[in-house]
């Protein structure tokens, strides 16, 4: 490259300093979870970017599956909250090979906390702009059948206690094992099993009164050849 043309230089304002040849560090290519974890512990910004780029979609999907169709919760906000929690807790990760599972756990806990906060907000009667209140919309707005099922299910889930809603979602939507659910929510296995039983019962009761869910359940029964 030809030398730059200093057409508008305003004097040697940076001063005449002794300079030496630059030692240029070009950081390229590969990384692994261990390197990312080490970088995060050292406060390296590249590691934060690498962590985000590797796990953002996974974390967003966990959050989306947990909070579903709730106009009062935004995956985008929770995404940042989850990654901040990951950074804050990185020193507690004792094995870098477990980073993937640990990130998933933090994501789920972030979603659970958000659901619990929503319950508190309803209790304290926060003012909510009416343009965000999509609950109880006209059926004709629901769209294709699968989307209807999605919306109705999360509307039902939103009426359940936060813990029951979350164990049910982690078990059947996120497809966690009972042990993983227990670890994520920091409950005993017995507690998880008990909560899932109650959650299923409550969900069934609520779904029985929803025409869309009744139809879905009936269709499922016919497909299985059973009587529902």
């Amino acid at each position: 490259m030809a030398g730059p043309a200093p057409a508008k230089r305003r004097g040697d304002t940076v001063g005449k300093r002794n300079t030496t040849s630059a030692r240029v560090v070009a950081l390229v290519v590969d990384h692994d979870d261990a390197a990312i974890v080490a970088g995060l512990r050292d406060g390296e910004r590249w590691a934060e970017a690498a962590l985000y780029d590797r796990y953002a979609r996974r974390v967003a999907c966990v959050l989306s599956r947990l909070i579903g169709h709730d106009p009062r919760l935004e995956v985008e906000d929770l995404l940042q909250e989850a990654f901040v929690r990951i950074l804050d807790g990185i020193d507690s990760l004792d094995d870098a090979d477990k980073l993937t599972g640990w990130v998933r756990t933090i994501a789920a806990r972030t979603g659970y906390r958000a659901i619990r906060r929503q319950r508190v907000r309803r209790m304290v009667r926060f003012w909510e702009p009416t343009d965000l209140d999509e609950l109880g919309r006209d059926d004709s707005d629901d769209g294709p059948e699968q989307q209807q099922t999605y919306r109705r299910t999360y509307e039902i889930l939103a009426r359940m206690p936060a813990a029951e809603r979350t164990v049910l979602t982690l078990r059947y939507v996120e497809e966690m094992s009972l042990g993983e659910v227990a670890e994520t929510l920091e409950m005993s296995l017995a507690t998880v099993k008990r909560r899932i039983r109650r959650a299923k019962s409550r969900f069934e009761t609520l779904a029985a009164h929803d025409p869309v869910m009744q139809q879905w359940l009936a269709d499922q029964g016919r497909e299985e050849g059973g009587d529902g």
């Binding site: 030398g3 730059p4 200093p6 057409a7 508008k8 230089r9 305003r10 940076v14 300093r17 300079t19 030496t20 040849s21 630059a22 030692r23 240029v24 560090v25 070009a26 950081l27 390229v28 590969d30 990384h31 390197a35 970088g39 050292d42 406060g43 390296e44 910004r45 590249w46 934060e48 970017a49 690498a50 985000y52 780029d53 953002a56 979609r57 967003a60 599956r65 009062r72 985008e76 906000d77 940042q80 909250e81 901040v84 020193d91 906060r117 508190v120 209790m123 304290v124 926060f126 699968q146 989307q147 999360y154 059947y172 996120e174 039983r197 299923k200 019962s201 069934e204 879905w216 029964g221």
Partner: protein, 411 residues
């Protein structure tokens, strides 16, 4: 009891729909917010990484920008002495015993101080975006004819937008401290602790400690000392309650003397700390035009001047405009403050703080907003107050309002 097979099938449906709602654009927006967020100091931070270690293994993936050469029409730059061609995206680290000069094709000169590290993230035809990862950078930016700043410097979570100026800036990730010393020209600085973007001119020095939520601002003759050092005029800005670390300029000078020329603008009066005079100067009818036509940064500046100048009605107008035109959540927070502190309207204040925590649950002002809500709730329904206090403690167990929250939760 609900059939687990059906629940699994239902789970599959929900999973598909939920995943389909995760859009790439949203992930990119959140990425920017995450990487540019105000950073709280990590308890077990191990300190700054040594610059330029001769590592045998390259372990970093830079996804933001692979090293690439500038396209035709874009600025080119050279690095070091003797100079070599600079590459966009490439990390540059200055050794322990020397600085690294950089020269851009339009004449802008940078100098990376010893043990500092930066990269040029992006170049344009009239400017560039530079990320100062650690240390100190001196800059002599060639002015442009464009209305908007053409250069952007990022130092940690802070950004410095530049049109043409000479300054030095530094960022210390170990202490989360940002500093900038202006020689001449004009820049706009944004970042954590600073409630509103700060415009600085020649002679100004700004130092922000994110960890301490502490801002030092001094205005004076062009500095000679290092930007990272404490400025010669130690002007502390602290709020005892921990709110608004940037509540008032530290160097608020006495009211303009009677000999001040009549041509002194309202903006200059506000900069000098004479907010009342600045507001009086706008009694000629210009205030309305400023509210409808100013940029977001100027609206915040106008709102601050009005707040400090005893004109909460005008502050509210400016902030409502920022809200309406730019969707600013920060404006919602400030509207809450105006309502609570100056308009004595707790119900309105509570609504604005609620809006803020809903829109920006992880925002830089979230702890303050929740704390203000707690204060405003006192004397109300005990169940509500207790729930609020518990919510505050779950989010901010060590926050400034934690003692109050524990008191309200009770035994």
């Amino acid at each position: 009891m609900a059939d687990p097979t059906r629940l699994s099938d239902l789970g599959r449906v929900l999973r598909e729909e939920a995943d389909a709602r995760v859009q790439p654009e949203m992930i990119q927006r959140a990425r920017r917010d995450f990487l540019e967020r105000g950073r709280e100091p990590r308890r077990n931070a191990r300190g700054p990484l040594l610059a330029v270690a001769a590592l045998a293994v390259a372990v970093v993936l830079v996804v933001i920008a692979w090293p690439r050469s500038p396209e035709p029409g874009l600025l080119a730059f050279e690095v070091g002495s003797p100079p070599r061609t600079g590459v966009v995206g490439e990390w540059l680290a200055a050794p322990v015993d020397g600085a690294v000069p950089m020269t851009f094709s339009e004449g802008t000169q940078l100098e990376l101080e010893p043990q500092s590290r930066l990269r040029v993230r992006e170049v344009r035809s009239d400017g560039a975006q530079v990320v100062l990862e650690k240390g100190t950078l001196r800059a002599d930016v060639v002015p442009t004819d464009q209305g908007q700043p053409s250069w952007l410097f990022e130092a940690g979570p802070f950004s410095v937008a530049v049109k043409g100026t000479s300054f030095s800036t530094s960022w210390d990730p170990a202490t989360d401290t940002f500093a900038i010393a202006m020689k001449e020209g004009r820049v706009v600085v944004q970042g954590p602790v600073l409630e509103t973007p700060r415009e600085l001119v020649g002679g100004d020095r700004l130092r922000v400690s994110v960890a301490d939520r502490h801002v030092q601002l001094s205005r004076g003759t062009p500095p000679e000392a290092e930007a990272a050092s404490p400025p010669a005029t130690e002007a502390r800005v602290e709020s005892p309650s921990g709110e608004d670390a940037d509540e008032e300029p530290a160097d608020a000078e006495p009211a303009a003397s009677a000999t001040a020329t009549a041509k002194t603008s309202w903006r200059e009066r506000a900069r000098a700390g004479d907010y009342r005079a600045a507001m009086e100067q706008l009694d000629d009818g210009r205030f309305g035009a400023l509210v409808t036509g100013s940029s977001q940064a100027d609206l915040f500046f106008l709102a601050d001047a009005a707040r400090f100048g005893g004109r909460p009605d005008r502050a509210k107008s400016a902030l409502l405009s920022a809200r309406k035109r730019f969707g600013s959540s920060r404006a919602a927070f400030l509207l809450g403050k105006v309502a609570a502190d100056q308009l004595r309207s707790p119900a309105e204040a509570s609504q604005w703080f609620q809006i803020y925590v809903r829109e920006a649950p992880s925002g830089a002002l979230a702890e303050q907003a929740w704390g203000r809500l707690l204060e405003l709730s006192r004397g109300g329904d005990p169940e509500r107050v207790r729930a609020l206090a518990q919510e505050y403690l779950s989010r901010f167990p060590n926050g400034g309002h934690a003692p109050l929250a524990r008191q309200l939760v009770g035994p």
